[in-house]
């Protein structure tokens, strides 16, 4: 019993001492992610909901075949800049119907498609410090899209390929898996639009894109 009391006293003295040793150091070095411009690469899977005239006149089916990869430089202020390339694909099949083309009447099963390879530069503004585990951001992006518009009438195709300007506005957040770690998840909701006028499309291709991604950062 006595031994136990002594042990308790010893511990009582020792534990606070130990705690004191873990107390803030005179100066702690900030994480390299806060001290340097760092790199960050993100791969994303995206679902795209058509909106506006693109939805009303051409395709209203949500697409899940959208991928992208981006590389960014996380600057020492709240901004990061980078580039993103992606692939997006919309497809919708319509039951057999009659279409008029000039004086001709065409009966066909229509398959409507749009595929795009957008290549964009973007700027992110981060609302919280770089090393917080949740890092919300807003994004502006602009670039060019290599696009292919093909409408199939049965097995006959009407195709148009073009490079057209594209832009986007988004909000998102990064989530670090581990404090000060290299890996994390990225969630982003973005309005994306490409101007393109041809056939069924009167203004362009616009969609609301929700993506989930994984990122890796290094310095």
């Amino acid at each position: 019993m006595k031994k136990l009391v002594i042990a308790a006293f010893l511990l009582a003295g020792f534990v606070p001492a130990l705690a004191q040793e873990q107390a803030p150091k005179l100066y702690t070095l900030a994480s390299p992610y806060e001290r340097y411009t760092t790199y960050l690469v993100t791969a994303r899977l995206t679902s795209a909901i058509p909106i506006g005239s693109f939805k009303n006149d051409y395709i209203d089916k949500t697409s899940f075949e959208n991928y992208s990869i981006s590389l960014e430089w996380v600057l020492q202020n709240s901004f990061s800049v980078g580039g993103e390339i992606g692939y997006s694909y919309f497809k919708q099949r319509l039951p057999r119907a009659l279409y008029m083309s000039g004086d001709q009447t065409i009966s066909a099963v229509q398959t409507r498609t749009v595929s795009q390879y957008p290549i964009q530069a973007f700027v992110n503004y981060h609302l919280l410090p770089k090393n917080s585990s949740i890092q919300p951001y807003v994004q502006l992006s602009a670039g060019g899209s290599i696009l292919d518009y093909t409408v199939y009438y049965g097995s006959l195709a009407d195709q148009k390929q073009k490079i057209r300007p594209t832009y986007g506005v988004g909000v998102g957040s990064k989530f670090l898996f581990k404090k000060d770690g290299s890996f994390g998840a990225d969630v982003r909701v973005k309005y994306a639009a490409t101007s393109f006028k041809y056939d069924y499309l009167t203004t362009g291709i616009s969609s609301l894109n929700t993506s989930i991604g994984l990122f890796y950062r290094w310095w």
């Binding site: 590389l71 390339i85 066909a108």
Partner: protein
């Protein structure tokens, strides 16, 4: 580090662009078929009562043409005859001055296409070390299209001075399964169904 990242981007670009899609490979034969009709809007088809049909099918293959009467052709001709009869026309011999004459053609065109693929050396995701020295690379591919073409000639209002017959109606049947006789009655339903002006009964 930056170099590594750029390679990653380039590699991803190649990977992404190398995906090719065939959005219509899941179409059935019937769904792939396209029916295109055209007619002379100044003509009132109710003035026609009788028709004849050519006793063979015109076969057009690229620059050459001739006539044929295979089992397939016979089937096609008889499907057209019965469909015309159901529309109210009377089938008569060519010698008894029909109002309209129908001709059927089987057309096959083959095209040789050339395409330039300047980035072909990247196929296979090869980079680093030496690449291929081709400035650009040409490849050739052949496409062919086959279709049925049915035309209706106006014999009643033939222009005697210029000796011409007007085509007052034309239908093209394109797509897959064009030689499958099981589809013939559906093909007739389609081309006549979308040309309601042809019905005189």
């Amino acid at each position: 580090m930056l170099k590594k990242a750029s390679f990653l981007i380039i590699f991803a670009a190649i990977w992404l662009t190398s995906c090719t899609k065939d959005p219509i490979n899941d179409l059935t034969d019937l769904d792939s078929q396209v029916f295109i009709t055209n007619h002379d809007k100044s003509i009132d088809f109710k003035q026609f009562k009788t028709f004849s049909i050519a006793d063979s099918v015109i076969v057009v293959q690229d620059e050459r043409s001739g006539t044929a009467l295979t089992d397939l052709d016979k089937q096609m001709l008889s499907s057209i005859i019965s469909k015309m009869q159901s529309q109210g026309y009377t089938y008569v011999a060519a010698s008894s001055k029909p109002d309209v004459d129908l001709t059927v053609a089987r057309i096959t065109n083959t095209y040789l296409n050339v395409t330039s693929t300047p980035y072909s050396s990247y196929y296979g995701g090869y980079y680093g070390g030496y690449g291929y020295g081709y400035p650009s690379y040409y490849s050739y591919y052949e496409t062919s299209e086959s279709y049925w073409s049915v035309s209706m000639l106006d014999l009643k209002n033939a222009n005697a001075t210029t000796k011409t017959l007007n085509v007052v109606w034309n239908a093209q049947i394109r797509g897959s399964g064009l030689a499958n006789t099981d589809y013939f009655s559906q093909m007739m339903d389609s081309i006549f169904g979308q040309s309601t002006y042809l019905k005189i009964n």
